[in-house]
């Protein structure tokens, strides 16, 4: 929302602060300012110019004009405007001398656009009066203060200059003037009937009829006001409605009365499928959730959003119905969202405007029309259909409670002054307790609780006047968060193994999901995705890590990275399961990939000491001969594999995908001490001859299962294939350690244990090299 500094100053005559310090005050006490824009700067040097004579410049579309600048003398300027002619009054700007088409041109004649007073750049500005050489009456450079819309969503009154002026007056303790003269409202029967069908959707509809209206361009001052705050001047009638809106935050609409059918304006919900053509030329298909303004034939406006095309003000208009109404905020918001059209009107009505404001808008319109459409005549009185809106109950504000909330003592007369300057009514209910009445424009949504008044007082005294005070609370050990602590521990372990942490988006594309075997339907879908490759909620971290691998492989020969994040798994009802996973990747552009996989296996064992790697059937995105699950404490916790070479352009990527929820559950529990064995253990080596693709891990398990009660450990030593072993076989050596808890094993016992293993292994069909 843009605010004109000059406009605000009209209501706060005592304002002496320049725009910049004022902007800071507003930011600190009312709403966030996003910046200041100077406008109409050229007006500072502009003079009224009487064009004396014009002569064409051959072979150009320009003319040479001689202009009279009164006391400043005569000037010769080259001008390209089609409307430049002798006898007109225009505006001269001192922009320096320049040779143009052989003419020594001094200064220039300016268009409304060049001056910043309108959007018109079709020709030079035509003035209707003024003394040559004088400044242009009523047009001054202005500063436009831009307020962040988000910071005034709760303030319907701050969508107009008068509301902001009230804040400024309160901040600076200055008087505020009111531009509205309610006694201008005509008494008597209205010239048009108004009927609201649902007083909840439309609490009030007020209207006035004018005839003898002449539609023409607005005077410059009005065009300038609207242009400066970003509104488009159109004609005097439409500009007037926009002016009232920008001043009082009361959106208005003008209908061409001769284009309406019947004698009654009805406010009703739209019929299913009802067609409506807006002022913007767009066709809309409405439904009963939308409120329309209708005449006998149909919708003439979409209530609170946009007027209709067919009843719009035009050059032929002579009779006008002026609407000043109020609509239910939530209904406007819904309609505006449904048809994807946000207008200056809908933006304001969404904020819950004050129903009392409709008549103020009409009163202001009457006065403005006298200035800018002097022939116009009021016909009849005010048509006004409304719901009775009870006055909001007063708020009890105990001053000690206020002081306790703010953490600062406050003199009661200061509290009173602040509230009254913001138009609250203040009475003393009992000693130390104020009874505060809320002005109608703050009561629609904004203020209903004493807590709301804490803010009103707090922001006006300035939060920098409150002394920071330590809260006095009992010391207590906070409840822990073991899951979060566990994830931090996992991070530390993986980092120590050389892996760097990456974060990826929670969104993935259907293609990426498909690459990892997931159908789009198995994902939670984003219904308003920001891009077509971010439509699904990831149910695996693999697609993200895959992208990291591919991208980083462009710059690095080898790397290790990981992510900890949530797998989002939809459930039929309620919130999805969010399962924390760790996915780590090790990429190497060179080599056969084996060392990477074993390094990854070591990472798994760092996380799960004693975990067993079990060969598994590869999934489609896994290397068909390099996939395994990691089993720990009886559960499958992770998957270890090489990414299918089709998914990596060059090089190899080893991946580990760990379910952290399972891992955390298995990691719980404290270590328990067992006494250190008092008798030495004994070890011997065994070599098993096995097929080349026999898994060493399985052989080790088999030996362990054959070893009997004395077994302490079986460790892999080495494996060998080649002569003298038969083709297709290998020899795998293990070291077996045995011990007894109560004595040192004798040589006989050791030999018996060894023989026992060999016998049992042979019984299972294994050949042993002894």
């Amino acid at each position: 929302m843009k605010f004109s500094y000059n406009w605000i100053r009209e209501f706060v005559p005592g304002l002496t602060q320049a725009a910049l310090p004022l902007e800071r005050l507003i930011t600190m006490k009312t709403a966030e300012c996003e910046g200041i824009e100077e406008t109409g700067r050229a007006l500072a040097g502009a003079s009224v110019a009487a064009v004396l004579s014009v002569s064409p410049l051959p072979d150009t579309h320009n003319v040479k004009a001689v202009v009279d600048l009164g006391e400043l003398g005569l000037r010769t300027v080259v001008c390209g405007a089609p409307n430049c002619r002798g006898g007109m009054l225009s505006v001269w700007l001192p922009v320096g001398r320049k040779m143009i088409h052989g003419v020594d041109s001094d200064g220039m004649l300016a268009s409304g656009d060049e001056l910043g007073v309108s959007r018109d750049h079709s020709g030079i500005l035509e003035l209707t009066g003024g003394e040559p050489g004088a400044a242009i009456a009523g047009l001054l450079p202005d500063s436009i203060i831009e307020i962040d819309n988000k910071s005034i969503t709760h303030r319907p009154d701050l969508w107009g200059h008068h509301g902001m002026a009230r804040e400024v007056a309160a901040i600076l303790a200055l008087p505020l003037t009111d531009p509205v003269k309610m006694d201008l409202l005509p008494a008597g029967d209205a010239a048009i009937k108004v009927r609201i069908e649902d007083l909840t959707l439309c609490p009030r509809y007020s209207a006035l009829v004018f005839d003898n209206v002449k539609v023409e361009p607005s005077p410059l001052w009005l065009q300038y006001r609207l242009t400066a705050i970003g509104l488009n001047p159109i004609n005097n009638i439409v500009d007037m409605t926009n002016f009232v809106m920008a001043e009082l935050s009361q959106p208005m609409h003008a209908f061409d009365a001769d284009l309406l059918s019947g004698d009654t304006i009805v406010v009703r919900t739209a019929r299913p499928g009802e067609a409506f053509r807006g002022l913007n030329g767009e066709e809309y298909t409405l439904d009963p959730a939308n409120v329309v303004i209708a005449d006998e034939k149909g919708a003439i406006a979409l209530g609170g959003v946009i007027g209709g095309f067919d009843s719009a003000i035009s050059g032929r208009t002579t009779r006008v119905v002026l609407e000043s109404a109020n609509f239910l905020a939530s209904s406007i918001r819904k309609t505006s969202a449904a048809i994807k059209l946000r207008t200056d009107a809908s933006m304001r009505f969404e904020k819950a405007q004050d129903p009392a404001n409709t008549l103020r808008g009409l009163a202001r319109a009457i006065e403005l029309l006298r200035q800018i459409c002097p022939g116009a005549r009021l016909v009849g009185g005010v048509a006004d259909h409304k719901r009775e809106i009870p006055a909001p109950p007063p708020i009890e504000l105990p001053l000690p409670w206020l002081a306790a909330k703010l953490g600062r003592e406050l003199p009661s007369d200061e509290v009173r002054r602040i509230l009254e300057s913001l138009a609250f009514g203040v009475a003393e209910a009992s000693p130390g307790v104020f009874r505060v009445t809320v002005p109608s424009w703050r009561a629609t949504k904004d203020i209903s609780l004493p807590d709301d008044l804490v803010e009103e007082v707090g922001r006006m005294i300035g939060y920098d006047t409150i002394t920071p005070t330590a809260p006095l609370v009992p010391a207590a050990v906070p409840p822990g968060n073991p899951t979060r602590r566990f994830h931090h521990r996992v991070r530390d372990i993986v980092i120590d193994q050389g892996f760097t942490e990456a974060y990826n988006y929670s969104f993935i594309s259907e293609e990426a999901a498909a690459a990892f075997g997931f159908s789009p339907e198995s994902h939670l879908r984003v219904t308003n995705a920001i891009a077509s490759d971010q439509t699904l909620m990831r149910r695996s971290l693999l697609p993200g890590i895959w992208r990291n691998v591919v991208e980083n492989a462009k710059h690095q020969e080898s790397f290790r990275l990981f992510e900890i994040g949530m797998e989002i798994r939809p459930r039929a009802e309620g919130l999805p399961d969010e399962i924390p996973h760790l996915v780590a990747a090790l990429y190497d552009r060179h080599g056969d990939g084996a060392s990477g996989l074993f390094e990854m296996k070591r990472v798994a064992e760092c996380l799960m000491p004693g975990a067993v790697t079990a060969p598994a059937d590869a999934l489609s995105w896994e290397h068909p001969a390099r996939a395994a699950t990691i089993e720990w404490r009886g559960k499958t916790v992770a998957r270890l594999f090489e990414l299918h070479p089709n998914l990596v352009e060059t090089g190899r990527a080893a991946l580990l995908d760990v379910d952290l929820a399972v891992l955390e559950a298995l990691s719980a529990g404290e270590a328990r001490y067992t006494p250190i064995r008092r008798y030495p253990s004994s070890a011997f080596d065994l070599s098993v001859i096995a097929p080349l693709r026999a898994h060493a891990g399985k052989l080790q398990e088999t030996i362990a299962a054959s070893a009997g009660p004395l077994l302490e450990s079986v460790e892999f030593q080495r494996q060998y294939s080649g002569p003298p072993l038969a083709d297709g076989t290998k020899s795998v050596s293990f070291r077996v350690t045995i011990a007894a808890p109560d004595h040192t094993l004798s040589n006989d016992e050791i030999a018996a244990a060894r023989a026992g293993i060999i016998d049992r292994m042979r019984g299972l069909g294994f050949e042993l090299r002894v």
Binding site: M28, D451, V454, Y463, V477, P478, L524, I530
Partner: protein, 340 residues
């Protein structure tokens, strides 16, 4: 006569020990002079033929000669051993400027780093760390936070909607409600986490970023307490004085509500893309917990009050490390990640 022979042997042998060029030569001298069949042994045998007095005297001479030879021998032997050791060690010359093999320690993501720092900081102040789901219901993300469906504030937070009316949390504030429901008053909690806004991405905007929600509910909590707390917090976070300002801010779940801005640490004030050219960075929306929010969470606002704040973790990280492009944080580029 025997004396003379012993003295001759002694001086001859000492010279030979001195002149020995190798352990073998030295050993030869030892065998000749001190060996079981060496010269001294031979003198010792001859000595047996002498009268007792003479024998005793020669015995002492002989002993002195032996000690002298042995000590000379041993020191020469030690010298040879020392030479041998230094020769062997010299041969083990190693170029320690060669790189060490194996991976280096990896790097925590900068957001993880700062988040942990804050978890520790708040833990030391008696706050518990809570987690909430990333996929939320309208109830927790909006309604329970005093943002009903018709509230225009819903427009302030462009929401990602999911199947079945679920949504991606637009802030960490839902964890306030979950925390109050779970823990009851009094409580002190923080909730760091990932949040989502449906907006297009550029150097200073992301649809995925991180916040840290904080809340304290107790008896008699004032704006003065809140300011004290925020100042303590920011001093600890930035390890230095930062310029801050507190101004009104509108958030439906607090009343009064504030924006706490800090002067931009990237540009120091003149303006840059991170601070949207304003010189100030909105860091901390905060305020006193709205009585409706307390009531919704089963806490009586007549007895309890509180403050809440939402720290922009992503923005904080960018300021701490001087990161000028927010997209780096989720870009997965190791050239970026390895800097932390």
């Amino acid at each position: 006569m025997l004396d003379q022979s012993i003295q001759d042997l002694l001086s001859r042998s000492l010279k030979r020990i001195e002149a020995a060029q190798s352990p073998a030569e030295l050993e030869a001298v030892r065998v000749d002079a001190l060996g079981r069949k060496g010269a001294l042994a031979a003198f010792s045998k001859e000595m047996g033929k002498l009268p007792p007095d003479e024998r005793k005297r020669i015995g002492m001479v002989l002993n002195q000669a032996k000690q002298s030879l042995e000590s000379s021998y041993e020191s020469r032997e030690r010298a040879f051993a020392a030479d041998a050791l230094s020769a062997r060690l010299d041969a083990e010359w190693l170029d320690l400027t060669l790189p060490a093999p194996g991976p280096r320690r990896g790097h925590l993501h900068p957001i993880t780093r700062i988040q942990r720092e804050l978890e520790d900081l708040f833990g030391s102040l008696g706050f518990t760390v809570l987690d909430g789901p990333e996929v939320e219901t309208e109830y927790y993300n909006f309604d329970a936070l005093n943002i009903p469906a018709t509230h225009p504030a819903r427009d302030m937070q462009d929401t990602f909607w999911l199947d079945g009316g679920r949504l991606l949390r637009t802030h960490t504030s839902p964890v306030q409600v979950r925390g109050m429901e779970r823990l009851g008053p009094p409580l002190r909690m923080i909730a760091p986490g990932r949040v989502f806004r449906n907006e297009s991405v550029d150097a200073s905007h992301e649809h995925t970023f991180y916040q840290l929600e904080g809340m304290m509910v107790d008896r008699n909590v004032s704006v003065g307490n809140l300011i004290y707390f925020m100042k303590t917090l920011l001093t600890a976070i930035f390890h230095r004085d930062v310029t801050v300002r507190l101004r009104p801010g509108y958030f439906p779940f607090v009343e009064p509500g504030f924006e706490l801005d800090i002067q931009c640490l990237i540009c120091g004030g003149p303006g840059c893309p991170v601070c949207k050219q304003s010189g100030w960075v909105e860091l901390l929306p905060c305020g006193l917990v709205h009585p409706n929010v307390l009531r919704t969470s089963g806490i009586d606002p007549a007895v309890w009050g509180g403050f809440a704040f939402g720290l922009g973790l992503t923005r904080l990280v960018m300021m701490r490390y001087g990161i000028d492009d927010i997209r780096q944080l989720q870009g997965g580029d190791l050239r970026f990640l390895e800097q932390f």
